[in-house]
């Protein structure tokens, strides 16, 4: 077990714990920088991972750090996307200005949604965000002059200061830059009094209040910042998908973001990124499985004879080819993670690290959950 030797307070405050951790991240950055040369065909998909990473970051700040679970975050993505396209294509504003304005507009929407948050806790807030998302979906469908209504809107390539970022490589680096910027800014906030106040609100509102945290102000700031990040992600998202339609930003997408945050591991930025990778890769995995799983079943049952194997293959194939299977799989994974690994992928990674650092003295009951009894959180 390595001992981290601390010689100044700045080390605790800094972004990286020590030189070793910094070198790991530098290595990762180098890998990401040369990735375009190694896997040029997948760059678009990896850009999507970065955009999802921004989305995960946004929801992590709100749900993981401040404890305000939002079930309608896709609505902010939609607002950011449509706003950016409107500003940059219909109004002809410069790209960076448009993104900034879209982020500001989305932040405003975030403040609006946050208003019920100031009075209500927990589930009621989640319901309010869900209602908001449904309202926004309707608005996007019907505001034809700005959003193109149900017909949708085509999105051109990104052009910043005269340089086109339409090519997959350029877009990849653009998304990577924005993700890194988002990570840096968020980490800055989290190690400052604002971030501590957010964590305090999550863990004990009453104690936070008595320590001088203005609950209303900080919850509003959390909503605004989270929505602003989502707005920026929305702008990039618009360029990536190329064609905006209101039925992209559904409740299912919000649930995917929630899945991202829960599966990744609530309460850590690493979790947001792991979750983003997971959720971005999931459709790829599912379609891959759709092609190969029937074959496996067929081989297994082929033991009972060729015709049995074929019949099973056909049946399983018909089962997995249904389009309605995807949301079901998302739901299943979400449920399974809540039941069996509530700390998410990052939590599992920490547990693995702990196992190896304590080997062979690791106690198997280290993370065993204590029996807990339910108490109503609603008082009479």
């Amino acid at each position: 077990m390595r001992f981290v030797f601390k010689t100044s307070y700045r080390q605790d405050m800094g972004l990286f714990r020590d030189g070793v951790q910094l070198s790991w991240y530098v290595g990762l950055l180098v890998l990401l920088a040369v990735l375009p040369l190694l896997v040029p065909t997948y760059l678009i998909d990896i850009s999507m991972v970065f955009i999802y990473g921004l989305c995960g970051l946004s929801l992590m700040v709100l749900a993981g750090y401040t404890g305000l679970v939002s079930l309608g975050h896709a609505a902010f993505l939609g607002i950011g996307a449509y706003a950016h396209v409107y500003f940059t294509q219909d109004l002809g504003l410069p790209w960076l200005v448009s993104v900034a304005l879209a982020a500001a507009l989305t932040a405003g929407a975030g403040v609006l949604v946050g208003l019920p948050a100031l009075r209500m806790t927990g589930v009621y807030l989640s319901i309010a965000t869900l209602a908001f998302a449904l309202i926004i979906q309707e608005v996007l469908s019907h505001w034809d002059s700005v959003t193109g209504g149900l017909r949708g809107k085509a999105v051109g390539k990104a052009v910043i200061l005269g340089v086109s970022f339409g090519g997959s490589g350029a877009f990849y680096f653009l998304c990577l830059a924005f993700l890194m910027g988002g990570l840096l800014l968020t980490q800055n906030l989290l190690r400052a009094p604002t971030g501590r106040a957010w964590v305090a609100i999550r863990d004990s509102e009453i104690a936070a209040q008595s320590m001088g945290v203005n609950l209303a102000a900080y919850k509003t700031i959390a909503f605004a910042y989270s929505a602003a990040l989502m707005g920026v992600a929305g702008a990039l998202f618009a360029h990536k998908v190329g064609y905006l339609a209101p039925d992209i930003f559904t409740v299912l997408l919000s649930i995917q973001f929630l899945l991202m945050v829960v599966v990744g591991g609530l309460g850590s930025l690493h979790g947001a990124l792991y979750g983003a990778v997971f959720v971005a890769m999931l459709p790829v995995l599912i379609s891959g499985a759709r092609d190969s799983v029937p074959g496996w079943f067929g081989q297994v049952f082929g033991v009972f004879g060729a015709s049995a194997g074929e019949a099973v293959t056909l049946a399983v194939d018909r089962f997995v080819k249904q389009p309605a299977l995807e949301p079901g799989i998302f739901g299943l994974i979400l449920a399974l993670f809540i039941l069996f690994e509530p700390l998410g992928i990052y939590g599992r990674w920490l547990k693995i690290k702990l196992y190896f650092s304590m080997f062979p003295l690791y106690k198997s009951a280290t993370f065993k959950r204590q029996k807990a009894y339910m108490r109503s959180e609603r008082l009479r």
């Binding site: 209500m120 589930v123 449904l134 309707e138 009894y373």
Partner: protein, 256 residues
């Protein structure tokens, strides 16, 4: 707090549809059977899945039920198909004239069924031992254990009843709103009604429901298209922002 409640309603409606249209059972037989089936399913769900998350913070249960809801919708889509179906009932397309107003039997059945259900539930929770045990178990589980209440069985019973009521609601609703995979989202409007009326108050919930219905009608008549659907949600947001306790309810605070 169960986000899958609306989806249980949807499952109940589909179940009844299946009994009536696929197996050609009579309406009332199918109604009763589907209530029982989904109630058993609810109890099984509690036994298998929900028991494990009982002591965890509320949002874990919320996420779990969201996941379950998605699974239910997916399952329904795959078993029964993703189109819109109609449920033939003894009340369909029949109406009576009462004092100059044409009253459709379907709507009467809904109102009568709702009132009956509310009365039965109210009686259950207030006057029977089982009902009181349910309230105790949901407020303070450890204390309920100490008092000799078989908490696990009580919770399964709660889920069974809740699923059964959802089924009944779904079957009552089916003639009016038609059955498809997404009717579960009406649960959100129901929540809006409960919030408007105020939590902890059953007459408040009824009043809230009526109010939202009226607001929706007015929105459909006077506002541009598309506003009718979201009227309930706007009301929900406004109520939560301005007067969270609704018309008749009370809001508590954690005791320190």
């Amino acid at each position: 707090m169960n986000f899958a409640q609306g989806d249980l309603l949807m499952l109940g409606a589909f179940c009844c549809y299946m009994f009536v249209v696929w197996y050609h059972w009579g309406y009332w037989v199918a109604f009763a059977s589907s209530v029982v089936t989904v109630a058993l399913f609810g109890a099984a769900l509690d036994w298998a899945v929900l028991r494990r998350v009982i002591g965890q913070p509320q949002f874990a249960v919320v996420m779990l039920t969201i996941g379950l809801g998605a699974i239910f919708r997916s399952f329904a889509s795959m078993t029964w198909g993703s189109e819109i179906y109609t449920l033939p009932t003894p009340f369909s397309a029949r109406a009576t004239r009462i004092g100059g107003v044409t009253v459709s039997h379907e709507y009467v059945s809904i109102i009568a069924g709702t009132v009956l259900l509310c009365a039965v539930l109210y009686a259950l929770f207030t006057y029977t031992k089982v009902g009181v045990a349910m309230q105790a178990a949901s407020q303070n589980q450890l204390a309920a254990y100490y008092m000799g209440i078989p908490v696990k069985r009580v919770f399964s019973l709660i889920w069974a009843i809740s699923a059964g009521v959802a089924t009944a609601a779904g079957v009552l609703l089916a003639p009016v709103s038609l059955i498809d995979v997404n009717i579960g989202f009406i649960g959100l409007k129901a929540f809006a009604a409960a919030v408007l009326g105020g939590f902890g108050s059953i007459p408040g919930a009824l009043a809230g429901g009526v109010t939202i219905g009226v607001i929706e009608l007015l929105a459909g008549a006077y506002l541009p298209p598309g506003f009718k659907d979201v009227a309930a949600y706007v009301v929900l947001l406004l109520v939560l922002a301005i007067r969270p306790q609704g018309m008749f309810g009370a809001v508590g605070r954690k005791r320190v």
